[in-house]
């Protein structure tokens, strides 16, 4: 991917003075080349998005959600008309223009609370998936790269894999619930509880990718050229493992969000309504609160507001991640190209 522009350009022979002059402009020309290659990458990305309308929808939604989260951090009043604790005069108001998701039993505006929760929930998803990616991905690299049996590395990778197997068999939700229940409900306990069960997926993924490319000719060539192991790992392997990992990460943000909100729902790890105006609500805890205090038949907006927010956010990340995975998976890419479902420019850019 993106290699089409990196082909070697054959230049005519030049005089020494010309070479000196070009040396002066090398920095500029390399940055121009970087820009061009960035442009080519963006074109490829655009072709991928266009290949499936649902991927494009996912991308637009994800962008909108991320922008909204940033706005809620910088200037919350632009998007949320009320504060998280600001009481309005109406109770149990059904959704209207003034209260897009209605109000609850004490007159809190549900929409504003959902918006205030957005940066927290999104941040948790990105943080937990990101730490798992770094931790599990790092272990996966090690386990895939140094796996010669009989060596120190081989023993190490066996240990990593057995541990991964054991952790993979824990259903993450139930172990996390038990930890939160025993330790007392708090955000950090909930985060660590999810992390404990989340990293093994990345070990499996990264190790598989490393094993698949480790014996390819270009790695052998690098080794024959005397490139050190560490450099091969960082420059030649990591760069090629990155793509599937980032795609998986995109989908994973949504999955973490669902699991975390379920933990919030079952344990009430975060208080709702928030205790001070500087705290942020969390969608799962909102669900838990309204699940207790209101009947879903008489005021369904109380549950549909935060629940819908989880649904839309996770759906957005899943649409994007699922579409990207389709295109980046070399097998389905081949199939799609054969089926002609990629536009001609797109498939050319992908080859």
């Amino acid at each position: 991917m993106g290699t089409s522009t990196e082909g070697r350009v054959v230049r005519p022979r030049r005089s020494v003075s010309q070479r000196l002059r070009t040396a002066g402009t090398r920095f500029r020309s390399s940055s121009v080349r970087a820009l061009k290659s960035l442009g080519a990458r963006l074109r490829v990305f655009w072709a991928i998005l266009r290949a499936n309308p649902l991927t494009l929808v996912g991308f637009v939604l994800v962008t909108a959600i991320c922008v909204a989260a940033l706005v809620m951090l910088v200037a919350p009043s632009w998007l949320a008309p009320y504060g998280p604790l600001q009481l309005t005069n109406t109770r149990y108001a059904p959704p209207s223009l003034q209260h897009p998701m209605g109000t609850d039993s004490i007159g809190l505006d549900v929409y504003s609370n959902v918006m205030y929760a957005l940066p927290l929930d999104l941040g948790l998803g990105i943080f937990i998936a990101g730490v798992s990616m770094l931790l599990g991905g790092g272990l996966g690299l090690v386990a895939g790269f140094w796996d010669d049996p009989g060596t120190f590395g081989g023993v190490g990778s066996t240990v990593i894999l057995r541990l991964t197997d054991i952790f993979l068999s824990f259903p993450s939700l139930i172990l996390a619930l038990a930890i939160v229940a025993f330790t007392g409900a708090s955000v950090w306990v909930a985060i660590i509880a999810v992390l404990v069960t989340w990293w093994p997926n990345y070990v499996r993924l990264v190790r598989g990718e490393v094993l698949a490319i480790k014996h390819l000719p270009y790695i052998q060539a690098a080794r024959a050229a005397g490139v050190t192991n560490g450099r091969i790992l960082l420059r030649h392997i990591v760069r090629n493992v990155l793509e599937p990992v980032i795609v998986y990460f995109t989908m994973d943000i949504g999955t973490v969000l669902v699991v975390f909100s379920t933990i919030g729902f079952v344990t009430g790890a975060l208080p709702f309504p928030v205790q001070t105006a500087s705290q942020r609500p969390e969608w799962g805890s909102m669900l838990a609160h309204y699940h207790e205090t209101a009947l879903i038949t008489s005021a369904p907006w109380l549950v549909l507001g935060p629940g819908g927010a989880i649904f839309v956010t996770v759906l957005a990340f899943s649409l994007l991640g699922d579409g990207l995975r389709d295109v980046l998976d070399p097998r389905s890419r081949r199939v799609m190209a054969a089926a002609g479902s990629l536009t001609s420019s797109g498939s050319k850019a992908l080859e």
């Binding site: 068999s169 993450s172 729902f265 079952v266 699922d322 097998r331 799609m336």
Partner: protein
């Protein structure tokens, strides 16, 4: 190349042996994670207990953690899963609730296979067209639905519209037959009681459907991509050229090969299915391990039942291990290239 009956025994036996260290690891990790993190269990536990009980509890938890671990392991090997703060042993509850959860999970798996896999075939057939997009929206919606929201919406709005019950396993807890197996579909069958059998089936549909919907994605997606891989191959073309109907080509020839990859994924979904039972069983009042877990971890105002929660984590983890074993063996049986020896 060995694929005889005796080779199959070796194949399964080897995998059973490989289970032992994993299960032991699960027990060790669960014990240490939960015991290291637990803070001040006794005071949480015995709010209404007498002083002697609290003193006994404190003495137990004051011991070195390794001693506690070997005590626990010894208990476990005798089938003793500990007891609640009121002195009720956990094991009988687990034994009573386990069949209900197994039944719910199997019913959901049944729906995932007979709805999710054909959906994957349809999506692959019309890859890139609207049917494909609809299927994708459907399975990603399931993925994105918070379990609680899906369960409650189904219970409150969908079930009355369909005329299906949403609480418990039977319309009345006083069933006129003995519950030998605690499987709601098998007990009335053993008693040859048709009316109660239908009643049990009606009660099973909603929770199983919600559980299946939420976990549908993996099966459908995997079927779709492995079908896409198989469809351009020569044997599919030759099946078409023989003049077989499209249905026959798809489901007999193509799907049969695509399914080999899908079986491995069903093992992975076991974790999701079991985790889903926690909230779904609570909403639908389904008397299984999920509901027991929900109550043991202190959700919904119940007191924390420490031993029960640890036991449930171990049971669920073993469930996932067994599901992976079944998927592994199934893969070996379905794929003729796998050597059983």
């Amino acid at each position: 190349m060995g694929r005889g009956a005796s080779d199959l025994l070796i194949f399964v036996g080897k995998r059973l042996l490989q289970l032992i260290p994993v299960v032991l690891g699960v027990v060790v990790l669960t014990f240490f994670i939960t015991h290291v993190t637990a803070i001040n269990i006794c005071s949480q536990w015995y709010i209404h207990a007498d002083k002697a009980t609290i003193a006994r509890c404190n003495a137990q938890f004051a011991q070195p953690i390794l001693v506690q671990f070997f005590q626990y392991l010894g208990q476990l090997l005798q089938g003793n899963l500990g007891s609640s703060q009121f002195g009720q042993p956990v094991a009988p509850f687990i034994a009573q609730y386990l069949p209900a959860t197994v039944e719910l999970v199997l019913a959901a798996l049944f729906l995932m296979i007979f709805v999710g896999i054909p959906l994957g075939v349809i999506a692959a057939q019309s890859s890139g067209r609207w049917a494909d997009h609809l299927v994708r929206i459907f399975y990603l919606s399931g993925w994105a639905t918070p379990t609680y929201l899906g369960a409650v919406l189904a219970a409150v709005f969908l079930a009355p519209a369909l005329g299906l019950p949403t609480q418990g396993m039977y319309s009345s807890p006083n069933v006129p037959f003995h519950q030998w197996t605690h499987f709601s579909l098998i007990d009335p069958l053993l008693a040859l009681n048709g009316a109660w059998e239908l009643d049990a089936l009606a009660h099973l549909i909603m929770p199983a459907a919600v559980l299946a919907f939420i976990n549908m994605g993996i099966a459908t997606r995997m079927t779709r991509s492995s079908m896409l891989e198989v469809l351009p191959l020569d044997f599919v073309k030759s099946a078409r050229m023989k003049g077989l109907s499209e249905f026959w080509v798809m489901y007999k020839h193509a799907l049969r090969n695509a399914l080999i990859t899908t079986t491995t994924v069903l093992g992975v979904t076991a974790g999701g299915l079991l985790a889903g039972t926690v909230v779904i069983e609570e909403v639908f009042a389904w008397p299984g391990i999920g509901q027991y877990a929900y109550q043991s971890i202190g959700a919904g105002g119940y007191p924390v039942n420490y031993d029960a929660a640890v036991a449930v984590v171990i049971i669920f983890a073993i469930g996932v291990v067994i599901a992976n074993l079944v998927a592994d063996v199934l893969y070996g049986v379905l794929d003729p290239r796998v050597d059983w020896r």
